[in-house]
Symmetry: C2
Subunit: 308 residues, 2 copies
């Protein structure tokens, strides 16, 4: 099947498989020494783990999100691993999001758009930071128009600091994040998709964190035709309800990173091997695949309970 843009492709994958987005925020500390030590560099170990993860969890994940910061932190070799990880997900024919949160004046944003929508780091969808103004989003929107690429703009993040700026009330009415939201709706409208359009959704999505404090119903109603990237979902009580609400209308993809990457740390079946320091790549990938299967079932369950 062909799609008019990458966000529509991701939306379809979420509906067909599950809303699960696996976050490859693969820090070297997320691998046990018995696995990492088998590689000559951290960057090689991370790439090997990512490849095995994609092979073992691809049937559960609607998409993968690769957080560039962890790769930048490993320098040039790390960015080679970042590029190779993107290639690996693309080779598996699964949508891939580069979580880069770039944002700069328009001329510079043009360079960032080239950086992540062409060449070594070419991805399907990126995350962007709107703080410097709406003119800074245009170069990314151009790639949506001409190449079907997608972008998730920060709307309501899941960290405690979201109250510092995003949630501050403006004299003109509503918090800062609603002002960003208005612009998102305008940008999205350019592409002409309505709510629950059978042809897919606009390539302009939004990051909306899943926390107890998130006013999920209001956000979902207000941005009914915007597809969401949803971080911050844990196994805690009411959060499943928040996630399910955010998944209605145009839908979204729910990110899980450490819960899957580090599942081996908590897997009771691996307790002895963990204590003896003899965990293998197969062990940690197996634990991750099980965690991914559980996360998928959990999300489907939460969604169907709320939308029954």
């Amino acid at each position: 099947m062909s799609y008019t843009n990458q966000m529509s492709r991701l939306q379809a994958a979420c509906r067909e498989k599950s809303p699960l987005c696996i976050g490859l925020d693969t820090d070297i500390s997320y691998l046990p020494e018995s696995v990492a030590g088998k590689f000559s560099t951290p960057a090689e170990a991370v790439l090997a783990y990512n490849r095995e993860l994609v092979a073992a969890t691809g049937r559960y994940a609607a998409c993968y999100k690769v957080q560039i910061a962890y790769y930048e932190a490993m320098g040039l070799a790390g960015l080679k691993t970042f590029a190779d990880t993107l290639k690996c997900v693309k080779a598996a024919d699964i949508p891939v999001i580069s979580d880069v949160k770039r944002g700069d004046i328009a001329d510079t944003a043009k360079a960032y758009a080239r950086a992540h929508f062409t060449g070594d780091f070419e991805t399907d969808i990126i995350t962007v930071n709107p703080y410097m103004g709406f003119d800074t989003l245009e170069p990314f929107a151009e790639y949506a128009e001409k190449a079907g690429k997608g972008m998730f703009v920060l709307l309501r993040t899941s960290n405690p600091g979201m109250t510092d700026i995003e949630n501050q009330e403006l004299v003109s009415g509503g918090p800062v994040l609603e002002r960003v939201g208005e612009q998102l709706l305008k940008l999205a409208d350019r592409f002409g998709f309505g709510t629950d359009s059978a042809e897919g959704c606009s390539p302009i999505g939004a990051v909306v964190g899943c926390t107890e404090e998130t006013n999920a119903q209001q956000l979902r109603n207000k941005y009914s035709n915007i597809f969401f990237l949803i971080p911050g979902y844990g196994a805690q009580g009411g959060a499943a309800r928040v996630a399910a609400t955010l998944l209605s209308k145009a839908g979204g993809t729910v990110n899980s990173s450490r819960g899957i990457l580090c599942a081996w740390k908590k897997d009771p079946k691996l307790a002895d091997k963990r204590d003896s320091g003899i965990l293998t790549m197969d062990d940690i990938v197996g634990a991750a695949a099980e965690a991914a299967a559980n996360a998928t079932a959990d999300l489907k369950n939460a969604f169907s309970l709320l939308n029954a």
Copy 2:
């Protein structure tokens, strides 16, 4: 002379040499074909130009600012050139700023801090985006505390879009950027430097654009002990007055990028060679050095006129 932090080192360089910061936003299109064509890749051509520029303009520049977006746009080879450019400036014993404008939740910001304050991309000072909240600045501040690194936080940028969020009035009083400013003052205070301290300044600086609309006197008075990174300064009329105002109190460094990198495009002495397509590396570096000398003289002049 030794400094307690990199921002103080930069402040001293601005006072001793000139406030000029040369921006190495070196896009391959800023080199004439007759020069670029002599190298096998754009990344090699850009590195060669950067090296020649640093050699020829080092006596005028208080510092260099390297905008990572232009290097990211060239992929892995571009980021190698980014790393080598940082090394080249450091080898010349000149402070270097990585203009990365990173910003993310605290755990991810830790990875970005490692990325730019250690390893292949180790720099002296970075630029950061505060939008996701003040918790996201802490990992960078830690490197200021333990390693003397510096950070410029976006306060008032020079692009038209600064009115979209930064300059929006809050119900709690003042525009968004003043809320960021309050936090900057708190962060800076941790380091215990007052206005015009003989021992230098806090490692926490601010980006304040130089445009006709900038309320320079108010910003300079309010953040009297904060060192500024000042983009947006051109050759236009009153902007020199704005720059001079921003340079008083704790001072600042004024960025010029294309005016220097692309000086060869407007140099009347090079008209014939430009038209014949036979410009050499020496030609374009010579034009850049002359532009840097002029920019330095212009800034010193503006500053002394206003502060006479």
